[in-house]
């Protein structure tokens, strides 16, 4: 590069002109110096032969006119110089530009990310209450009576809505009974006395509960368990604290039935049916956990009915009464597995943890997400939020899984087994966890729910079949060779199906008795033998589920 030894003696307008060009070039200094030298040389050469100052000035003005507009010239020179740049310099410049762009983009993204706030627009709690409210008179609602029962029983332990099984002796005995470690009759005199005292103490609770079960429907307004100050989704914090005392009252009913059975089988049966109706009530609710509690209570009641039929002499009239009640209960069909709440809770959570959708929006917000996912480390929730799929994608995947589950829940275990249906868990596992961690946190263990419902249906129908077999024996003097005879006699409408084979429940007449069973979850007929430790054969050592003889099955509670 040239080292110009001092600026040549040029008219002021030329030096100003060149300075302006260099200033507007806005390029690296060495290139500007080079251009400056070259332009100064040019003017110097041009003016070299001028005789006097005036002529130099005049020629200078003329040349400036020829060179043209400063701005345009500066731009053209700059462009030319940039093109002359060696490749490595261009690469460096592009790299620096890229890094700067990245930093700016990151800064904008981080700003956008942290300034985003969820804007919940739909009150899903109100929506669910609206949808689940039947259009029937309030007088037919069981809830006010159930509520009284809960309030009464909760008074026995004001700090906790339910029993303190581990806290005192009577409760330990009740707990043993509840777990079916022993039956009521097997209790020692002292223990029996303790339990009886506890039952008498809570007798009013049971009475309220029983009265409630006579009502035609059960509706209660759902309330959020949140304090309203946090951003916790309303539906996710739904207060379901009533379920625990309701389940405890159901146990109270079972003990009541066991106590009544040998003195008045009819009364024991009525107690069981009250429980079954309450269980049915809960199965009509939109919340899955409420539905499952209802299923459990119903199964509890049916098992107890079978036990009463096995242990206590029931008259033909009592058996007819049982049949009539069972038919009346399922007149509208078995309630389907409800998905409304869980689906709405999912949508509600999404609207509380994501920013609004649309261009530039719809990302997961760390703080509410950490509350939902119970993440205590802020850095973890930030990283998880950054990596998470957007609102629309999350909604899409969630809906896909709920839809899939809705379809699978209608299939019997046998259908699922033979058709090799992909489970909801498999679907979840197939997703990248870091992209859909909200779904992993939110979606309940859906796959077994449908199976629980099918087991309850099988048990319900088996109870009716056993009742019909007892009637048959009373009328004909012995058990039939096949269940078809019950249909032919008009004692049942159809032969109950085994959800584990989609064929009739297995029936075999024995010398003085019969065996009625489901082949259960190992999908093979084990001849009507049951493993009490694995009643529905969920594991390898499981066998059949035996409804009758009643011995082992009747003690199933959970």
């Amino acid at each position: 590069m040239s080292e110009h030894k001092g600026k040549p003696d040029l008219p002021g307008n030329i030096t100003t002109y060149i300075e302006n060009i260099l200033r507007r070039m806005r390029y690296r200094r060495s290139a500007r110096r080079e251009v400056e030298t070259e332009l100064l040389d040019h003017f110097e050469d041009a003016l070299h032969d001028c005789a006097d100052r005036e002529q130099r000035k005049k020629l200078a003005e003329e040349m400036i006119r020829e060179f043209g507009d400063v701005k345009t010239l500066a731009r053209l020179i700059r462009r030319g110089k940039i093109r002359c740049r060696p490749w490595w310099r261009t690469a460096c410049v592009r790299m620096v530009q890229g890094v700067c762009l990245l930093i700016v983009t990151m800064a904008l993204y981080v700003g956008w990310f942290f300034l985003g706030r969820p804007a919940p627009a739909t009150d899903y709690l109100a929506k669910m209450n609206r949808l689940s409210r039947p259009s029937i008179s309030d007088q037919d609602n069981a809830w006010p009576l159930y509520k009284k029962a809960i309030e009464y029983i909760a008074r026995s332990d004001p700090d906790q809505a339910g029993f303190h099984y581990e806290s005192d002796e009577p409760m330990k005995t009740v707990a043993k009974l509840a777990k079916r470690d022993i039956s009521f009759e097997q209790l020692s005199d002292t223990e029996r006395q303790e339990v009886l005292q506890w039952m008498e103490k809570n007798a009013p609770a049971w009475e309220y509960f029983r009265q409630g079960s006579d009502k035609s429907y059960y509706y209660r307004e759902y309330k959020s368990g949140g304090d309203g100050k946090t951003s916790t989704p309303m539906l996710l914090s739904l207060s379901l604290s009533c379920l625990s005392p309701l389940r405890d009252i159901a146990l109270l009913g079972i003990f009541q039935a066991q106590r009544q059975a040998h003195q008045s089988p009819r009364k024991a049966m009525e107690t069981c049916l009250a429980l079954a109706r309450a269980g049915w009530h809960m199965q009509t609710r939109p919340v899955l956990i409420e539905f499952l509690t209802g299923v459990a209570i119903h199964r509890l009641a049916m098992n107890e009915c079978i036990r009463i039929m096995a242990e206590c002499p029931l008259s033909e009239r009592d058996l007819m009464y049982l049949q009539g009640e069972l038919i009346r209960m399922r007149a509208q069909g078995y309630p389907p597995v409800p998905m409304d709440y869980d689906r709405m809770a999912f949508y509600d959570t999404v609207q509380h943890v994501f920013t609004q959708g649309g261009p530039g929006g719809g990302h997961l917000v760390p703080k509410p997400f950490s509350e939902v996912a119970e993440i205590s480390e802020p850095a973890v929730s930030i990283l998880a939020s950054l990596a998470h799929a957007g609102r629309d994608k999350t909604l899409e995947k969630g809906a896909e899984i709920f839809d899939h589950f809705g379809r699978v829940a209608k299939m019997s275990p046998w259908q699922r087994h033979t058709m090799q249906i992909t489970t909801a868990d498999d679907l979840l596992d197939s997703l990248p966890h870091y992209r859909y961690s909200l779904l992993m946190v939110l979606l309940p263990a859906l796959d077994r729910v449908g199976e629980h419902r099918f087991r309850m249906i099988a048990l319900d129908q088996a109870t009716e079949t056993i009742q019909a077999l007892q009637l048959y024996r009373m009328q004909k003097g012995g058990y039939p060779e096949t269940l078809q005879a019950l249909v032919a006699s008009g004692l049942i409408d159809s032969i109950p199906q085994d959800p584990y084979s989609d064929q009739p429940l297995r029936y075999r007449k024995t010398e003085n008795d019969f065996v009625l069973y489901s082949i259960a979850g190992n999908y093979q007929d084990d001849g009507g033998t049951m493993n009490p430790e694995d009643q529905w054969a969920r594991n390898e050592n499981g066998r059949d589920y035996v409804f009758w003889p009643a011995g082992e099955a009747a003690f199933q509670t959970k």
Partner: protein
């Protein structure tokens, strides 16, 4: 005579390459050479010259180096490269044909027409 900018834009690189093909020159010298050789008809706007030289340099058609002139003053000398020579040959050929074609259209002297 002052030519339209767009007309000059096409011819200027060929003219510069042609002049440089006869020997290396610095900016002022080059502009003067073009003016003289065109009989004062072609006077590349000085503002056009330097950006054009930088562009030709960027394309590798000319090379630039600082050197002293006869009066021992440092000047930036431009010389045509072999690549520039190839380019000149191609473009010169095209220009001659273009010139002839335009002459025919304008019905100029037969001497200017293609053989």
């Amino acid at each position: 005579m002052k030519f339209e900018r767009e007309l000059l834009k096409g011819v200027a690189p060929v003219v510069v390459l042609e002049v440089l093909s006869r020997g290396r020159m610095y900016g002022y010298e080059l502009s003067e050479a073009i003016r003289q050789r065109s009989g004062d008809l072609l006077n590349l706007g000085r503002g056009t010259l330097y950006p054009l030289l930088y562009n030709l340099e960027a394309k590798g058609l000319v090379a630039a180096e600082w050197d002293e002139n006869e009066s021992k003053r440092k000047r930036r000398y431009y010389s045509i490269t072999s690549e520039g020579m190839d380019q000149l040959e191609r473009q010169k050929h095209q220009w001659i044909h273009l010139q002839q074609a335009v002459s025919m259209i304008f019905e100029l002297a037969p001497a200017l027409r293609p053989a």
